[in-house]
């Protein structure tokens, strides 16, 4: 059955956890407390409760170093353990947005909520969260010094093979499978959210748009996923969708890794939909039953219809991955989300067993240059997502439907 009390770990939760638990909420006052030298508590501010004491202890464990980079809603610093400077971390300080009057922002809530629960080798580990006196939230993340997949794809000095692609797509798919098995949709899968650890392991990051699978009655927003990686159902304003949205993104990342450029790089939403029609096929009732009932669907001009691309078409665009690889790629880029491969199906595909075998993570290609290049490399390009006002919007141009009729 779906849930059983049979697993001993769960069957006697109280026994095995009492030790950890004691640590969790009990704080032994220290003889001589070392004061944190970064921002925050002054001596006259005695903690008012256990939670604050604990938080202060957590904060004191880490030392914040130089700035590594800056995103829309966070500044990332290099950090290390106070007791062991060789233990490195990335400390992501969520900017307190003075303009946002509604308390903790949705991005921060989502990121913290999901990263706290998800523990998997291909998902960025969140080691700790603490706040500073000025109410800034700090996420202590694994330090991932080797950039991200976008950097590798764009760097002409980096060469990589099918075996390498196989390793990367495999790690990505395992991360997505784990999210979905936990009832979490990521909703922003793209190469620059796939960070690379010191040992070559790919880690899915940035859960600022993630959410739990919705109840069937609950509507979801269609305004998610960066445009180039966004599936057709979201352009048609589907209000109910599933893990299939992430799987489309996985397919587009797979294609981009092969082509070494974005597979479908639309300048506007409508342009993106055109590119999907051209590259994959025009969404119609016969290849996607029910599509015409979606709120944002509009009938396509009869003489502008592209039939769904055949395996031969894909073979000519992606010759290097062979026919089995093409079969796998096509299964993720199916227009109808109901028929799109799930993460589990992808992982069970025979392409993985076929030669060449995926490269071992330690032997995967790495970016040229050092840490300092990071951040500069990561200038965002087209099709950013906006929701709740986050993520600079270069998208919303008025749509011109005439081109589609």
């Amino acid at each position: 059955m779906a849930a059983s009390p049979l697993n001993p770990a769960a069957a006697s939760p109280n026994r095995q956890k009492s030790n950890g638990k004691l640590k969790a909420l009990t704080v032994q006052p220290k003889q001589s407390e070392v004061r944190s030298d970064d921002e925050g508590d002054s001596n006259d501010d005695a903690p008012v409760n256990l939670a604050e004491k604990l938080n202060n202890e957590e904060k004191r464990k880490y030392v914040k170093g130089k700035k590594l980079g800056e995103g829309t809603y966070a500044i990332v610093y290099k950090g290390h353990l106070r007791t062991d400077p060789t233990q490195l971390f990335a400390i992501k300080k969520i900017k307190l947005n003075a303009e946002y009057k509604d308390g903790l922002s949705m991005d921060a809530i989502r990121e913290v909520k999901f990263l706290q629960e998800l523990s998997h080798p291909n998902i960025i580990p969140l080691h700790s969260v603490f706040s500073t006196r000025d109410q800034n939230l700090n996420l202590v993340l694994e330090f991932l010094p080797l950039g991200d997949l976008e950097v590798l794809i764009r760097d002409p000095d980096v060469n990589y093979s099918i075996a390498d692609i196989k390793a990367w797509v495999g790690m990505l798919t395992r991360a997505v499978w784990f999210c979905h098995a936990n009832g979490v949709l990521h909703r922003d899968i793209k190469p620059n959210n796939l960070l690379i650890a010191a040992d070559g392991e790919v880690k899915l990051a940035d859960f600022g748009l993630a959410r739990a699978f919705a109840d069937p009655q609950q509507n979801m927003t269609y305004n998610v996923i960066t445009r180039w990686y966004r599936p057709p159902e979201l352009f048609f304003k589907a209000r109910h969708y599933s893990g299939a949205v992430d799987m489309w993104s996985v397919g587009t990342v797979f294609a981009e890794l092969i082509l070494r450029m974005p597979f479908m790089a639309g300048n506007t939403d409508i342009h993106q939909l055109e590119l999907i029609c051209q590259a994959i096929g025009t969404p119609l009732e016969d290849n996607w039953p029910g599509v015409s009932e979606l709120e944002g669907y509009l009938p396509f001009d009869k003489d502008k219809i592209t039939p769904v691309r055949t395996r031969a078409d894909y073979m000519s665009t992606f010759p290097t991955i062979g026919s089995v690889g093409v079969e796998l790629l096509m299964s993720m880029l199916v227009l109808d989300p109901q028929k799109r491969a799930t993460a589990k199906e992808v992982l069970e595909h025979r392409w993985w067993a076929e030669q060449p075998r995926p490269t071992e993570k330690e032997r995967l290609p790495r970016k040229a240059g050092g840490e300092q290049r990071m951040g500069e490399d990561l200038k965002r390009r087209g099709g950013e997502v906006e929701e709740d006002g986050r993520r600079g919007d270069k998208v919303a141009k008025k749509l011109d439907f005439s081109s589609l009729r």
Binding site: M1, N7, N49, A51, K113
Partner: protein, 378 residues
């Protein structure tokens, strides 16, 4: 390749940070009460020192741990009602999350430091955010003001304690409810009905069909099965939506245990037979599981019987009025002061924020035009 609910639960924050033995739970609450008593006594003395009129000799009579629990339980019930009734009409899962936030908050904070009325709306607002039901703070406060008890609530008052709440929650925003296990049970049972009808189990099915028929149904007509399952589901749900949320079971037991305890209340025989299927050859494990389920059932039944004792609550409220932390009454002011400190630190962020707001406003305008009505005629 499959993940069981159990392995997922083991890595959850609910298990890692918010599960306790009964003894540990009591000692945590005692510690919190002692800590608050000490701090508040000091704070009241400080306040008296600067106030001529106050009677400096008057004894400072703080709440006991039991009195704190009386208040917290009463306000949990109020929070349940607030969230589910109009104008919020939120699903029980969202309100249940708010109630657990509220209970978790008071594990490390005393009502003497932060009055439950100050905390209550903020936990509900936070739960709407963590459960993807968020609305603008302004709208939330406006709805709240529609209720007589909250006529004067301002957005600032609602949001002021959010930060201390998130800190007390140790920034873990996920609450695992037992409903999923209950749906799992229902599906499983309806699947078993097919076994009985087909007169043979699916490959690898551990019980003889006759056992399923005889033991689980106890001579009942297989066609009545659906009804039995439905009735059990309803009764269990009543407990999961009420007693389970208001009691301490989320702190003490895994979601699956809570589900089985609720099912055991609905139909003990049937539930035990059902547990028999996977545990048939493991008597020790079965005994342990059953003991846990039964212990949880006791807590649920007790909570179900519990009624808010209005007189006692009123007495404790009156007592609380004399032992509140004088330095924590103006949360809005405290919050503003902290934000001011932060803003001084982050002058630069202001500019960025302003720019972002402009972009946002523009994109909101453009978004309205997107797929404008004239173009898509539906």
């Amino acid at each position: 390749m499959s993940l069981t609910e159990d392995t997922l639960y083991a890595s959850s924050t609910q298990f890692r940070l918010w599960s306790f033995t009964p003894e540990k739970l009591v000692s945590l609450r005692a510690e919190t009460n002692a800590f608050a008593t000490k701090n508040i006594t000091k704070a009241i003395k400080r306040a008296r020192a600067s106030d001529e009129t106050d009677n400096k000799e008057q004894k400072i009579d703080c709440l006991t741990m039991e009195e704190e629990q009386t208040l917290i339980n009463a306000y949990c019930a109020q929070l349940m009602h607030l969230g589910q009734a109009k104008p919020f009409s939120l699903p029980v899962s969202v309100v249940g999350t708010a109630v657990q936030f509220f209970k978790r908050f008071y594990l490390s904070n005393s009502p003497m430091t932060y009055h439950p009325l100050q905390i209550l709306p903020a936990t509900l607002f936070l739960a709407t955010k963590t459960e993807s039901r968020h609305m603008a703070l302004k709208d939330f406060a406006e709805r709240l003001r529609g209720l007589t008890a909250w006529k004067t609530a301002t957005p600032d008052e609602v949001i002021a304690p959010e930060f201390i709440i998130t800190q007390a929650l140790r920034f873990s925003f996920s609450v695992r409810h037992p409903y999923r296990a209950l749906s799992g049970f229902r599906l499983e049972m309806l699947g078993l009905l097919e076994v009985v009808r087909a007169r043979r189990g699916p490959a690898g099915f551990p019980l003889a069909v006759e056992d399923v028929r005889g033991k689980l149904l106890g001579g009942r007509d297989p066609e009545a099965w659906g009804e039995v399952v439905q009735r059990m589901h309803e009764t269990a749900l009543k407990y999961l939506h009420g007693a389970a949320l208001l009691s301490d079971v989320y702190f003490l037991y895994a979601p699956a245990h809570i589900t089985f305890a609720a099912l055991h209340i609905a139909d003990p025989e049937f539930t035990e037979m059902f547990l028999e299927i996977p545990l048939r050859n493991k008597p020790e494990l079965k005994a342990r599981v059953l003991a846990t389920v039964l212990a949880c059932k006791v807590v649920l039944l007790e909570a179900e019987k519990r009624r808010v004792d209005k007189e006692e609550v009123a007495r404790v409220e009156a007592k609380l009025a004399l032992c509140r932390d004088p330095e924590k009454i103006d949360l809005v002011g405290l919050n503003r002061a902290q934000k001011r400190d932060a803003a001084e630190d982050g002058q630069l962020d202001e500019k960025v924020a302003k720019k972002r707001r402009l972009i946002r406003e523009k994109s909101a305008r453009d978004a309205e035009d997107l797929f404008g009505p004239g173009l898509v005629g539906k």
